[in-house]
């Protein structure tokens, strides 16, 4: 839809202006504005149902906004022709690996379907990208044989094959144990440093957000509440933001 296999400039800028979307009369996005700089790791945090995933679908072209515009490197991507000039990848919350294909076939799918490389080259690239995300000897396994964390890393490897200029992560650490979550977080940072890709991470994982973000936006009920560096967001004096950032169990001890 959006990816075109010819452009090799890394790290694009992203600008979202007054984005609105309703489903069956219910407003999910109510005028979202933000900007992501080239090579930046930008995290959008917010509670479940705040419109984060819908926002990502708009950016990758899976949804069309009711109003508002999305610009990449200053160009509106309303038309497919302009959108096709940029390579973007979305790492789905579930991984969204094709269950009928092996891990290797999943990772190499973009190259094989578009006939961009020979089968031997595809195999080499697949092995290389899987090793980039710390996976070895999984090429012939089926997705059902992998753990949740491994599936997410395979999904990242599949995204890397596109050589994206903008990589979007939808809840990359959900359903993962803390150690696997750290591996994914480190992977996001390593990719930024190694290839300078612009990363947009949507998550409600506070540890991940404050660990990897250059800047954070907090979204609630389809509106951005604040945008800033992790420190600025922590200091932002708004009850909704503070509640979200400091929500914790309060277990009252019963007197014996």
């Amino acid at each position: 839809m959006i990816n075109h296999p010819a452009n090799h400039d890394f790290g694009v800028s992203l600008l979202v202006r007054s984005l609105r979307k309703s489903f069956n009369g219910q407003e999910v996005l109510r005028g979202v504005d933000f900007e992501v700089k080239p090579g930046e790791v930008f995290v959008i945090m917010g509670p479940s149902g705040s419109g984060k995933s819908v926002l990502l679908k708009h950016l990758i072209g899976l949804e069309t906004p009711d109003a508002g515009e999305i610009f990449i490197n200053g160009e509106s991507i309303q038309t497919q022709e302009i959108a096709a000039q940029y390579r973007m990848a979305l790492v789905f919350q579930s991984g969204a690996l094709l269950n009928s294909l092996t891990v290797g076939e999943n990772v190499g799918l973009y190259l094989s379907e578009h006939r961009l490389k020979t089968p031997e080259e595809i195999q080499r690239i697949v092995t290389e990208k899987l090793e980039d995300v710390g996976l070895k000897d999984v090429t012939d396994k089926m997705p059902s044989e992998l753990s949740g964390g491994m599936k997410k890393r395979v999904a990242i490897a599949r995204a890397l094959v596109i050589e994206p200029q903008l990589i979007l992560y939808d809840e990359p650490t959900s359903e993962l144990d803390p150690l696997s979550a750290i591996v994914i977080g480190e992977e996001i940072l390593r990719l930024k440093e190694r290839i300078g890709v612009t990363s947009l991470v949507v998550s409600h994982d506070r540890d991940l957000a404050f660990g990897v973000a250059d800047r954070i936006a907090v979204i609630n009920e389809g509106r951005i509440l604040t945008i800033g560096t992790p420190d600025e967001v922590k200091r932002f004096n708004d009850p909704l933001v503070q509640n979200f950032l400091h929500a914790d169990f309060k277990r009252e001890l019963q007197p014996k």
Binding site: M1, I2, N3, H4, K57, I60, G61, L62, A84, M88, A89, L90, F92, S94, A96, L97, L98, N99, S100, L109, Y110, E113, H114, R115, R158, I162
Partner: protein, 245 residues
């Protein structure tokens, strides 16, 4: 079903436009073709043998009593070639293959695999619908030819073995040859080709529009089978009208 006729026609049209790309997807077409043939051949044999047999059993004694024994072969021959083999095999394939198509594509929709394809600029129609539609359009007519032959054989076996009918094998086939023309078989095969397109496009459409998790997948499978069968029966009437001329 009728509210989504427009979407189904549009999907069919888009798939038709993609037919020149079928050669690129030949491996997937072959896999699907093998799947359809392999999954259905035995069932086709059993079903068509007994359909042929039961027509002979139902019509044979009545016709023999009225000194019309020579018509039994023709009735079995015409009924199998023009009507029963195409329609019954289409219903069988709708149940076996249409349901599998709707379930597989439906689960891909629900688990965002189709969205993942779109983000990689892989058209789901080219990748999923085209190979299935081409494979079923090739496989069902072949299965129907097979079904017609096995059905005739089933009729011949019963005509000879049943004491009430007792028409020898050779006499049955000779009567059948006198009445059934190549055109009758071609008509049946053409109908089955149309039914294959209906099953393929209806099932893939149901799969692509699946929402709502496992329950949604179940609903899509049921709708795919029921809608395919309803459309097969409706189209059967109109195709028969056209082909009678």
């Amino acid at each position: 079903m009728f509210e989504s006729i427009g979407e189904i026609v549009l999907l069919f049209w888009r798939t038709l436009l993609a037919v020149p790309l079928a050669w690129r997807q030949r491996q997937k077409v072959f896999d699907q073709f093998f799947e359809i043939g392999n999954a259905s051949l035995l069932m086709v044999c059993v079903l068509s043998f007994f359909i042929g047999a039961v027509i002979a059993l139902q019509t044979g004694p009545v016709l023999v009593d009225r000194s019309l024994a020579s018509a039994v072969g023709g009735i079995v021959g015409i009924a199998m070639a023009k009507e029963l083999a195409p329609v019954m095999m289409a219903i069988l394939i709708a149940g076996r293959i249409g349901s599998a198509m709707a379930a597989e594509i439906g689960s891909m929709s629900v688990y965002q695999e189709i969205d993942a394809l779109r983000t990689m600029n892989i058209n789901p129609i080219h990748y999923l619908v085209l190979p299935r539609l081409v494979a079923i359009a090739l496989a069902l007519p072949m299965l129907v030819v097979f079904a017609i032959l096995v059905g005739w054989f089933g009729g011949a076996v019963v005509a000879e073995a049943n004491n009430h009918i007792a028409i020898p094998f050779q006499a049955f086939y000779s009567d059948l040859r006198d009445i059934v023309e190549v055109r009758d078989v071609v008509n049946g095969v053409f109908k089955s080709f149309c039914f294959a397109l209906i099953i393929g496009v209806v099932s893939c459409h149901q799969g692509l529009t699946t929402i709502g998790g496992p329950r949604g997948i179940g609903r899509s499978v049921t709708k795919a089978v029921v809608n395919s069968i309803v459309l097969i029966v409706i189209f059967d009437y109109f195709l028969t009208r056209i082909l009678l001329k």
